[in-house]
């Protein structure tokens, strides 16, 4: 195999024809030759290609019907022209291009894929062609359309184009890439065929056995015949291919199930189970396989989605081990050249440290089940995997108890907060290299903030004994209520002394407002004007009395709510403020109470209201709620 690291410009002149021949002979959708860029060394770029796939709109200027060969070449040419014109950045390409030139609408998805490939450039060692060149080994990618974009950067493109298999191998200082819209299993004979076709004079050769033969000669029937004539009949009908009849793949393919299939040549190798290639298992790929009715259950080689994985047909186990070593080493060095994105750099470092440090046992002892002393019985295939009928017990009961319940047994006073204050200072909070974790982070930050506040609250309230959130809240509420009572008491003392002073200078204006002013039509009664308007002396007495009464209660605010069935009587006494009566009535109506009687009077700055109401509807506010709501208004300053 040509190692392609030194660029040999021995590219045949009719490269295009070679590519055409290659693609057509194996009936694949396209062939591309990537070569080292002359302008920018160390970089692979599109050099030449041939498109052999489905075509949508054919545009030719010749009236003469060309043969398939010419048509194909012309099409590829047209695609290249389209690419050049598009990449030249014409804003109005239609005007410039001749009428027979293609425009983007004329292209099938596969053609579009082929076209976009022309724009790709790969560093050596990166991307499918780049890795191929760097390794000097072919890469066979099955299920390219489902591949990870890290492995095959054009996988999304391939998906829209239905390109399922992509193969690349180094050749003549560059990389030849072939792709097809079918799923073709790995077959190195195909690659060999393409290579030999380059060396032969094209167009006239009838391929015979010796060119195609690969691997074991055990079975002469293995080798398929392709008879080609100058006309390049496009469809190599499958009946002409004699399918390999060796054990492994004999049942795999029935001719009429696959159209336009390439050579399937059985290599006649048995992959011994002790081969320790790194194994991958992707369930998606299996469903694809099943759809394609490949019913071999044994040796389906799936997407070789691995960095620089070498596909080497081993001749013997020993040789394979050596190859494997190379792979392993390759893997380890390859890690640094993985085309990961920037925010994976950290993880990359982690990985490289792990693999350097580990000494991998590549071949472990092979567990033979013929060990008669074993307690284990060998697994019987086909045992129905019915789930056990669930008993009354919960699944994973003990495990769950160990994880969920036992830790909480230790301290029933456990603070529910995830992280204590002390821990938070010392703990690191690693950033997660994943998108979409933001909401979780926000949530936990929120929790942290809440916990902080609880800590602060605990420090403010002297009476808190226990540390759990509920106790903190309870103690805080108690403390607040105590403080409020104290404040009320102090205020009442203050008011008393104030009112004594006020008595000496009687003024009337401040108290002369009643509920009238607010036009609340639910107030049917009780617009008793201020008592102060009446006899002065008696007023004073009354005031004093009232104040005394107020003092007896210990506070100037008083809200009494009495509920009797659906009747609610609310008596409010509070310092008068502008608009307070309206607010009270508003609150009452919000509490779903139908007021049918309101009495109010203001006395020396103290507003007294008696509201008789009924519960409206089923939404019943409790006594406490009513009281709270009104208290809130009464205490607002």
């Amino acid at each position: 195999m040509a190692s392609g690291l030194h660029s040999q410009e021995r590219v045949p002149e009719n490269l295009k024809k070679h590519l055409a021949f290659a693609a057509r002979s194996i009936q694949w959708s396209y062939a591309i030759f990537w070569s080292i860029s002359a302008r920018k060394p160390g970089v692979l770029e599109w050099r030449e290609g041939y498109y052999n796939g489905d075509i949508k709109t054919r545009k030719t200027i010749q009236a003469v019907e060309l043969n398939a060969d010419r048509l194909g070449l012309q099409r590829s040419e047209q695609l290249r022209e389209l690419y050049e014109s598009l990449s030249a950045g014409d804003s109005n390409p239609q005007a410039r291009r001749p009428s027979a030139a293609l425009s983007p609408e004329d292209l099938t998805d596969t053609e579009w894929y082929y076209l976009v490939c022309m724009s790709f450039v790969f560093d050596i060692g990166q991307g499918l062609p780049g890795r191929t060149l760097a390794n000097g080994q072919p890469l066979w990618l099955c299920n390219a359309h489902n591949a990870d974009s890290k492995v095959f950067s054009r996988s999304l493109l391939a998906k829209s184009a239905s390109i399922q298999t992509v193969v690349s191998f180094p050749f003549l200082g560059g990389v030849i890439e072939l792709g097809v819209t079918e799923l073709v299993l790995e077959d190195l004979g195909l690659i060999k065929h393409v290579k030999t076709s380059f060396l032969d004079i094209p167009c006239h050769v009838i391929m015979n056995k010796s060119n195609i033969g690969v691997g074991s000669t055990a079975n002469d029937n293995n080798i398929a015949h392709i008879a080609l004539d100058t006309k390049f009949s496009p469809l190599v009908s499958c009946e002409q291919l004699e399918m390999a009849s060796n054990s492994n793949s004999s049942d795999e393919f029935e001719p009429h199930q696959l159209e336009g299939v390439s050579l399937i040549v059985d290599r006649g190798m048995n992959y011994a189970p002790s081969q320790a290639q790194s194994w991958q298992f992707m369930e998606e790929d299996f469903s694809n396989c099943v759809h394609h009715s490949l019913n071999s259950s044994d040796c389906i080689s799936q997407t070789f989605v691995d960095d620089g994985k070498v596909v080497v047909p081993p001749k013997s186990d020993r040789e394979h081990e050596n190859c494997l070593q190379a792979v392993q080493e390759n893997n380890q060095t390859k890690l640094t050249s993985l085309d990961l994105q920037n925010n994976d750099l950290h993880y990359q470092n982690v990985l490289s440290s792990l693999f350097k440090a580990s000494h991998q046992l590549i071949l472990g002892p092979h567990f033979q089940n013929c060990n008669k002393e074993s307690s284990f019985a060998s697994w019987k295939k086909g045992v129905l995997v019915k789930s056990l009928k669930p008993r009354d017990r919960t699944p994973q009961k003990i495990l769950k108890k160990i994880l969920f319940e036992v830790p909480r047994m230790h301290d029933h006073e456990l603070v529910e907060s995830p992280v204590s204050n002390a821990v938070k200072d010392a703990a690191w909070r690693p950033e997660v290299d994943e998108l979409g974790m933001n909401h979780l982070l926000l949530e936990s930050r929120q929790r942290e903030r809440i916990n902080d506040q609880f800590i602060i609250l605990k420090s403010l309230v002297p009476s808190i004994s226990k540390a759990d959130q509920v106790s903190i809240l309870d103690d805080t509420i108690e403390y607040l209520q105590e403080l409020e009572k104290k404040v009320e008491e102090l205020e009442s003392f203050r008011d008393l002394s104030e009112s004594e002073a006020r008595m000496k200078r009687k003024s009337q204006d401040s108290v002369e407002r009643t509920s009238d002013n607010y036009g609340d039509n639910r107030i049917s009664n009780g617009k008793k004007p201020s008592i102060n308007k009446r006899k002065a002396c008696t007023i004073d007495e009354v005031e004093l009395e009232m104040d005394n009464v107020a003092m007896k209660h210990g506070s100037t605010d008083d809200i009494i709510v009495s509920v009797n069935n659906i009747d609610v009587v609310i008596k409010i006494k509070c310092p008068w403020k502008e608009g307070i009566l309206f607010e009270m009535m508003d609150a009452v109506s919000h509490l779903h109470l139908d007021c049918h009687s309101v009495q109010s009077f203001t006395d020396e700055g103290i507003l007294s209201i008696t509201i008789k109401s009924k519960y409206k509807g089923s939404n019943v506010a409790s006594e406490g709620m009513i009281k709270q709501a009104l208290q809130r208004i009464a205490w607002k300053c």
Binding site: Y271, Q396, L440
Partner: protein, 340 residues
């Protein structure tokens, strides 16, 4: 608690059984090879009694004579069931062994021939009120002074047990952390109720990487096992699931395999200590299955290589490097050693 004198018996299927007076959960093999001990391989057993009074017992197993011998002297009390037990991974001395247990705190014990002495209680809370009980821990076998613990307060704490001090503490997840496993001297992974497997590197505490998240969001991942023979692979189990999920740490988020042959949910997993692609799992279907992970998989999934049926749901599984031919399982009151 009285220890009944047990004669272990060899069953026809080549397993050795020890019957304990109480249900068992935590279990650990000593790393000291049995050949240099008189009595045989030391195995620590933690009880599972839903009460304050629990015990940790040491028994010894002699693979030559196939006997399990209890040691009434080697028994200590433990507050509430120990969530995990583990011996020092590299102990050279034959006279004493170090045992660690997790529960309310990380405790270290010295196991001598005739007694167990508590060595230290590692408590990382500054005040006595806040304590974060531990769900699991792992002893770093490359750097044995390092133990990593996982806790329900979403943190993982790395201890330097020689100094008896916290090396570092990381807020690992957004919910309770259920298991932790070392990969290398400074790299560990953890699983949590938030359904993610994350890898941490102590050299770069600012970052962690999620390598897997449970497909149903917030399905807790309960256990984690890192393949010590091939650090690329890890295994984890989900809550209420019969699947063992195999992960390749180089391909985050995409499991490499899902082993789905258990007929009920899986409780414990253990990689083979001497082979890089064998793993054993045990679950509520009373079965312990040994799987050989293939290079390529058939379309119907991966079948186990061999199986064993115990008498009742298997809660614990240990496959020790010191005894690679024997797998220990614990179910109800019994501990059984199965020959592989």
């Amino acid at each position: 608690m009285e220890n009944s004198t047990q004669e272990s018996h060899l069953r026809p299927d080549n397993s050795v059984t020890y019957e304990s007076p109480y249900p068992l959960y935590a279990m650990a093999f000593s790393s000291t090879p049995s050949r240099i001990l008189h009595h045989g391989q030391r195995i620590a057993l933690g009880s599972f009694i839903e009460d304050y009074n629990n015990r940790v017992d040491i028994v010894s197993f002699d693979p030559e004579t196939l006997l399990i011998k209890p040691h009434p002297n080697l028994s200590v009390e433990h507050p509430y069931p120990p969530t995990k037990l583990m011996f020092h991974p590299n102990r050279k001395s034959s006279t004493s062994d170090l045992l660690a247990s997790s529960g309310d705190y990380l405790r270290l014990w010295e196991v001598r021939d005739s007694s167990i002495e508590p060595l230290s209680v590692l408590n990382n809370s500054k005040t006595s009120e806040f304590c974060a009980p531990l769900t699991s821990f792992d002893w770093n076998d490359i750097e044995p002074k390092r133990i990593g613990t996982s806790s329900i307060d979403t943190t993982c704490t790395i201890w330097d047990i020689e100094k008896g001090a916290v090396e570092t503490q990381l807020i690992a997840h957004d919910k309770e952390v259920y298991d932790i496993a070392w990969g290398e001297a400074r790299v560990f992974a953890s699983v949590s109720a938030d359904g993610s497997v994350r890898i941490f590197d102590l050299r770069d505490k600012e970052h962690s990487t999620i390598i897997y998240e449970s497909p149903q969001p917030d399905t807790p991942l309960l256990r984690l096992a890192w393949n010590k023979q091939d650090l690329r692979y890890m295994a984890t189990i989900l809550m209420d699931s019969n699947k063992v999920v195999i992960l390749d740490i180089r391909s985050p988020t995409m499991p490499v395999a899902e082993l789905e042959r258990h007929r009920a949910s899986v409780n414990a997993i253990a990689w083979a200590p001497q082979s890089y692609r064998h793993i054993c799992s045990a679950g509520d279907d009373t079965q312990a299955l040994i799987w050989e992970l293939p290079t390529v998989a058939g379309p119907n999934g991966i079948d186990p290589m061999s199986m064993y049926s115990a008498g009742s749901e298997i809660n614990q599984l240990q496959w020790s490097a010191a005894q690679p031919d024997w797998i220990a399982v614990a179910f109800s009151n019994k501990m059984q050693l199965l020959k592989v």
